[in-house]
Subunit: 334 residues, 2 copies
């Protein structure tokens, strides 16, 4: 399937779902044109082969799924309604047309499942596979968008879903398919946490409507992302490690309950939501999140001060994981 024999851009375009009703002009022009609605939440997120995923291990379809899923997770963390996405693919020479179309298929799969319009994009040559996604969401009618900065002392700290699955999947991938300690079913469910992160969009909107004061998605890891939220909110988060909900099978892969908890607290890419709420909103929030399909678990509280403490059951604290200086969100300040 040599590039010269068919229109690759058209072949990719055919794979993507149709633009939504608000999109007046979709990609293929200099820019997409989108009708205004409510306040927009806009986020950019890039994944790079060899850094955020390995094409050889993931395959192209999972690479596409992960790129879009991770970007949409940022919208979930705002409590936004998903709108449009714009995708830049930097494709190396060695990437075959089939692989490129596989990436498009993965993106299309998530776009259809999550009802997101792929409204534009750019395909460029690059020495390494890079997939950069800009996701645009909107303030839903029911609630304001939720930032990281609204947590207040005495708020409850809670988390959706169960953690550690994505990190356990990386361990399984390193050990290879012959590794013992995980049944095929378990292996598959853990790998899905790494290869097909599901953005908690419904959960995010439910939490926003239920009175969330601050929210962030867990991409860097519970400890690191709690740190981002604490810093933005100018408060301190106290988390009890024993309360952190751990995904099924993580203990088997990690080699023990305590190791599983550490993986759940330190490993990233679970794309669950970390949220703070006034205590009197917790029950209603848990009910709304359950309706959206996920458990909501109280794991600690906010207090005066700064930073994050993850307390161990027998006393003492979990050492914080290192922070990557070359990873972070940028914005103008003055």
């Amino acid at each position: 399937m040599p590039s010269s024999e068919f229109d690759l851009i058209a072949a990719i375009t055919e794979r993507l779902p149709a633009p939504g009703p608000r999109v007046r002009v979709a990609g293929g022009d200099d820019a997409a044109v989108v009708e205004p609605r409510a306040s927009s939440a806009i986020t950019v997120d890039a994944v790079v082969d060899g850094v955020h995923f390995r094409l050889a291990d993931f395959g192209p379809r999972a690479a596409g799924r992960k790129a879009l899923g991770a970007a949409l997770s940022d919208l979930a963390a705002m409590g936004a309604a998903q709108g449009e996405a714009y995708v830049v693919v930097g494709a190396p020479e060695g990437l075959s047309d089939e692989e490129l179309l596989g990436i498009a298929d993965g993106i299309a799969e998530v776009a259809e499942r999550e009802a997101v319009s792929i409204s534009g994009g750019d395909l460029v040559r690059s020495p390494v596979l890079v997939i950069s996604v800009t996701a645009v969401g909107y303030e839903p009618g029911a609630a304001r968008l939720v930032t990281r900065s609204g947590a207040r002392p005495r708020d409850v700290v809670a988390v959706t879903g169960r953690l550690g699955g994505a990190a356990a999947a990386l361990i399984l991938m390193e050990r290879g398919p012959e590794a013992r300690g995980a049944s095929p079913e378990l292996r598959e469910s853990l790998l899905a946490r790494q290869l097909d992160p599901v953005p908690r969009l419904r959960e995010g909107r439910a939490l926003a409507a239920a009175g969330a004061t601050a929210m962030i998605d867990i991409s860097d890891g519970l400890g690191a992302d709690a740190g981002h939220l604490a810093a933005a909110s100018e408060c301190r988060l106290e988390i009890e490690l024993s309360k952190v909900p751990v995904a099924e099978g993580v203990a088997q892969v990690a080699g023990g309950e305590r190791e599983a908890l550490e993986l759940a607290a330190g490993g990233g890419e679970d794309y669950e939501l970390l949220v703070t709420l006034p205590r009197d909103r917790l029950d209603a929030a848990a009910a709304a999140v359950a309706e959206a399909g996920s458990p909501l678990t109280e794991i600690g509280y906010a207090t005066e001060g700064s930073g994050v403490t993850i307390r161990l059951e027998g006393g003492g604290e979990l050492e914080p994981k290192g922070f990557d200086q070359r990873r972070g969100s940028l914005s103008g300040s003055g």
Copy 2:
């Protein structure tokens, strides 16, 4: 200046201009929050070291300028008013903090000059330097956004500014600083066309208000971009090569007038605007574009059919340049 000793994200953030009044929450959160205004024009554009620029030749500041300038050029081609930009930088290990901050300085320089708010971004590790920019613009009060698809038979085809400068600069850069054939002043003005592309935002809005039927920015080259416009408009463009305005000094670098015209027609990255207009709007459009700072030159006309013909003065046609299958805009189609 080791990364561990200072907050790199904060250092980058400090370099960027303050977010505009419509930005309620700038980057540093999961997503930026932007107040709605008019219809949005949204575009994504990525530049990759070794493909679209060479960091060793450009230096970090010019790389940053080029990345943002090229993305804003897509907004210019819609006749949009510039709004916000979101920048993903994929930074390789070998890139020093100084270089990274130099890129931020280049982005900040263009953002300030063009009054664009850098409202969010993402800094990730990458084996190669990638700068991906999402630019958001808005429909100005005076006119609708202009797509590529509105050209009609008998429309005039015109171009802003003068072409060939960016391609001549690449030749100069290959020959090195000792190359003969260009005075220091000429060399500098040609290099600026490559290292600091100025998006024709005012010209684009002036053309939209003057009744432009279709518009595109010249990034791939006059012939290739005229082809995109013709395809989107389902018409045919006839261009007279001798009418194409050539930038000063290109003939000296290219080695002749005819060679200069070929460079102007085939070379890319001039980021001027190619526009179609009803003939009776041409004079008013030229006056409006002149007020915005650029000449507007009639170079041909639209007619029934498909494709682009670039006619030579003595008869015959310029061979079209090859089209890169791995370069193009993506969007969902169904």
